[in-house]
Amino acid sequence: MKATEALICLKFLAAVYAASDAPRPRGVGPEYGSDEPGTSACAHLSSYSPQTPDAANATLALPGFYCKNKGHVPSYVPFTNVNDGVCDYESCCDGSEEWDGVGGIKCEDRCKEIGKEWRKQDEVRQRSQTNAAKKRKELVAEASKIKIGIQDRLQSLTTEIEGSELKVKQLETELADVERREKGKVVKPAGGKGGKMGVLIGLARDRTEELREHLVRVRDERDSSRSRLQELESVLSTFKEEYNPNFNDEGVKRAVRAWEDYEAVARDKGSEPKAALDRDLEELTKTDKENGLDWDEYEAEEETDTDVLYAFENYLPPSLRGWLDHKLRDLRLMLIEGGILAASTDSGAESKHVTEARKRLKTAEKELDGHHKDLKKHNEDLADDFGPDDVFRALKGTCVSTDSGEYTYELCFLERTTQKPKKGGGHTNMGNFVRMERMTVDEDLPPNGKGLGSGERIVMKHENGQHCWNGPNRQTTVILGCAEENEIWKIMEEEKCIYRMEVGSPAVCEGVNGGGGKGAGGKDEL
């Protein structure tokens, strides 16, 4: 198919040959074994051209006009560009594709300087690529170090967990023991919380604490609602400023009017938060201690005379007291355990010993819980996608930024993208990192090599950024190309609030050493 169709056009070219005595260079055609001269006569043999019987379903034998580019790298120029009156020095530095001089064009051979410049740049590119590869190695090493660190931490965590578990168990036993002992005590040592007043105080304290917590929570909720309201109001006032009355949308006009009414009412009411009240609130939410109210003090004081009277042990000489105490305690315990005597329940709360034992247990449990959480986090972290060789582990949280138009754009690797107005004002979240993907790109590489080039590239998707008026939540697709430094090359708003960021990073210089640079001349495209 290919051969026959090309032959039709070849036949024609032969005729051209015969008919014209213009000097024509010959492209090389070793691939095809024929004299394929370079004209654009067959440029229409393309699936992109209208399909007519004299050019149906045809493909070309050669990818384009062959430029020898002596002094530089040979390349094919698309047939569409042959003899169109424009010197395509980018791909044909010897100017040979304009051999017919249409419209008086003369394309001098510039291969010497272009080649020289290219080689110079190529050297820079190569060097940069070598550096980039080195940097990537460092990044991988760094990532690996971080990973090992995590693994180490995991290991030590396991040990720590074992230790903590043991400790918890011990403390549980200890607590049980203390409790058991405390139960046997007839009279609580000083400092315990005894008596009705003690109960009341305990309850009051708990209640106050509870109220305080609720107050704090309600205040937080209020603050967040207030900030949401402010945000909403600013959205609406922007809306009022910027809406286009030309669109003559009754709904929009109604909304604007309603907003104006609302605004007027709000202004009258003076909805500004009262600072004084807020300060009071602030005071209220401080802990009781900070407010000069020490519950313990009151609790510790409380011990009724009767209690003291009954604690007759205290009036005995210490030796006798010790003995008696011991005996009595044993007896009491015996009675309690025998179900004859009720355990002393009058205490408003536990004894200090029990509380402290419990506290110790709680702390130990908390510690254990923390260890478990850490373990989970680190395990998940290890399972996460950090790209090939785990390389982005080393970049997580690293931020790069660039200026474009009236904004500065920032990318924090594996975290988010942000738009910051240069004139000041709020930052806009353009999306939070969600995942890595791969994408096939096909871009021309600029001479300095700072571009995506062609092939499969790593892509970081950022979604669910700030919502757009009349649009979606902001999203950013970050496409990574190999570069010596982390840098944002280009930022584009591809459609409303959907951004595309082209970013260079040594992290993606995996196996590109020497590969990307070659394509720079763009010689083999068609």
């Binding site: 036949k11 024609f12 005729a15 051209v16 008919a19 014209s20 654009s40 006569a41 440029a43 229409h44 393309s46 699936s47 992109y48 051209s49 209208p50 399909q51 007519t52 019987p53 004299d54 050019a55 149906a56 698309p78 569409t80 560009n81 003899n83 169109d84 009156g85 424009v86 017919d100 249409v102 419209g103 286009n244 009355p245 030309n246 669109f247 003559n248 949308d249 009754e250 474009s404 138009g405 009236e406 993907e437 791969r438 994408m439 096939t440 790109v441 096909d442 021309d444 892509v459 009349n470 649009g471 979606p472 280009k490 584009m492 708003e493 591809e494 459609e495 409303k496 959907i498 495209e525």
Partner: protein, 983 residues
Amino acid sequence: MYYFDGSSRRWTSLLTLFCILCLLITPAVSVKRENFKTCDQSGFCKRNRAYADTALSESRWQAPYALDPSTVKFDKGVLTGTVLKKIINTNDNVRLPLKITFHESGTARVTIDEERRQKGDIELRHGSKARKERYNEAEKWAIVGGTTVSAGAALNSDAEKGTTRIMYGPGSKFEAVIRHEPYGIEFKREGETQIKFNDRGLMNVEHWRAKVDKPAEEQKEGDEAVVAESDKEAAEDESTWWDEKFGGNTDSKPKGPEAVALDISFPGYQNVYGAAEHTGPLSLKETRGGDDKYTDPYRLYNSDVFEYEMDSPMTLYGSIPFMQAQKKNSNVGVFWLNAAETWIDITKSTTSANPLSLGIGSEVTTQTHWISEAGLLDVFVFLGPTPQDVIGAYGELTGYSQLPQQFSIAYHQCRWNYVTDEDVKDVDRKFDKHRIPYDVIWLDIEYTDGKKYFTWDPMTFGDPIGMQKQLDDHERKLVAIIDPHIKNEGGYHVVDELKSKDLAIKNKDGNIYEGWCWPGSSHWVDCFSPKARDWWKGLFRYDKFKGTGKNSFIWNDMNEPSVFNGPETTSPKDNLHYGDWEHRDLHNINGMTFVNATYEALLARDKDEDKHPVRPFVLTRSFYSGSQRLGAMWTGDNQAAWPHLEASIPMILSMGISGYPFAGADVGGFFGNPSKELLARWYQAGAFYPFMRGHAHIDTRRREPYLAGEPYTQIIAQAIRLRYSLLPAWYTAFHEASTTGAPIVRPNYYVHPGDEKGFGIDDQFYLGSYGLLAKPVTREGQEGQDMYLADKEKYYDYFDYWMYEGPTTVTVAAPLDTIPFLMRGGHIIPRRDRPRRSSGLMKFDPLTLVVVIGNSGDAEGTLYLDDGESFNYKEGAYIHRRFSYQGATSTLTSEDLAALPGKKTNEYLKQMEKVRVEKVIVVGAPQTWAGKTEVEISEEGGKSSSGTKKVPLEFHGQEGGKAAWAVVRDPGVQIGSGWKIAF
């Protein structure tokens, strides 16, 4: 193209999102009817419709207008006289000067003015500073030629009593019979009446009257008493005479009621066309009488109609008050020269023809009722008989379409907005990378610094010159938008000058008018003022509008004018223009004056161009009769929806037969996101818009052709490349339009005026004079297309040479990658098949000639070529050839059509010397060529003059339904010289 991992998931979610969005958007996408007046809300329209109802329902009705025979004078082709309007219930008459001019071209013009206003013998209310006359300067803007008064027109002394008869026109075949009382005119061609004025007595010239403030109650009773005694129906409803309110705006109407109206009938004519611009069918619908008819008249009041609706007589951005009527083998027309708000009622009545002519059935008469708010009653009458005669005569008057820059008929890539200079350069590179040609990239309003025209946003367009340089490397152009609203902001040089030089539109009190548009508070330049135009011209000089280069051109939008907070989104009617004319008088011309100023500006932007002006390119949204001289128009803000694609074709055809053929619709649809199928189909249709531009709203996804993905990108690329390969045919068609006024894409009735069955067809059309018949698919999922072949002739599929024979309707396969496109036998089509990056780079490419042999065995076609940018063609720098194939002798010849050589002829021919014919394809080649292997070629002049040469011929026999075809590869003949190929 991007290929995503897990792309299907992504697309599914996108699709879902899209569907949800569609659901959300669909109900909201519709015109805000309440923002625009109905006839009932427009006082003068309501009054005149009521007047018509009275006149038509009352048998006792007598039109109160009479031509005073004693005043009639006829001298050198001009008849003058006075029409007297009888005032009801009085013995008073209002004197209305009448002037009928008969032009050499066969066009007649009937003008009626009002004496008191003419003399300024009236009082204006509210202390208005406005002019007192009826607006009489519309012709200054619309008319450029064809007004030579006929020497041959003569009074016919045979006139019946009570009439005056004038014979005129070519061979004195035309006749105007003026009835004195009631006043009316019948226009006849060869004795047969074609057009009647005031036949139904609906003529109405609202004379000036003072406002009499009577106590409301008393007046009512009093009126009733009077009415009871006198003619009840004649009682006038005064409620809409004075100040009128609409949508919170009050029109002070200092001149009171001043409408003009006239009924114009076309006896025997069933179809009328024109009255652009509207979204309905090409053949205009009836506007009264229920059922399938519109309820409001067609309205002409240039407006920024947001999300306009389909199949509607509502007004749009531009107005051409020119109408043609078509019956079998006859076409006539009228041009209503009035720039004020205008409404046209259309009804059709079936009457049995002359009862004496047995055997002839009933006949349909189309009756029209033209109503304008102010100005003169001024009508031109064209008596045909062919559509081209009428369109040509109209073109002679209002000017032919500009011979455009070559690039401007190629593909334009636009978007609101390409956001930075880098963005523009990136799009430019991507077109090249994907081998899709394009010529022009556009910048919408965001390129400016805060919507201040003639500035660049320094943040986003820091290097406009560098950007234009990159475009220029491949002969590409930049079009930037400049609108008439000037931002009212201190320190902005343009507004400062506008104010200090006093060049803006004024409000009714004579102070500078302030309204809202894109920049917020704005003023409007008044291009009716010569001083304003001079100033405007200066703003475009390269050294003044810094950042523009020679490959930059201009887009004029919002020039209705669009005023966001104005009544009906436009200027208040009592605003004042240069010469103290009220805006109401000249509203529909306003847009044209602005484009005119820009056109003048672009002729020369530096000293070099002062000496050698270049052809301007300006795109406009608002237009009037005459705008065709200044550039292209587009159909405004359409939607990415199938019905809008479908409607674009009749709309563009309507522009073509209205003398403004350089027209297009936004390819892809402006609002919303088109499906890929719709986008592909829209490019296939767009390849046949005389003005082909892809455009998209700022909230839509990017949709440059290379983003669509396969197979869509390929389908779109094929459509664009088809356009490019046919550019020689398109350019020749544009040349024809610029010299004869002929449409570029032509409806069936224009090409086959004898074929009544085709009079209503408006979804297929012919390209130029090439017999190229296209019917783009405009419905979703459609895979076949019925095409109507009007005549007994062979038609061949453009892409596979499948043969059809008319007259019939055929079904042409139309899968997504195929455009239903046929070649009518008997034509020769010039092409340039080599795909290039832009049309500028095709300038020296060889041509392909496609000879399409029809039933007669012959074929013919023309080619016009020039440098595509300068005015050198006026000095002979062009090539104009006719190619003819004679079946009898089997020869193809090229003959010169150029007028006498001019100063620059030789220079141009020398430049084009190397441009040759590289291929001749003969479709429908005779079977007798089967054994033929070569053809004989002889060429005039040069080395081959002495002898002939032989070149191989390749013959392909008929295959199934596909025609036989032959090809001669590289006959080597020059495009600019005479030659002969003998087969």
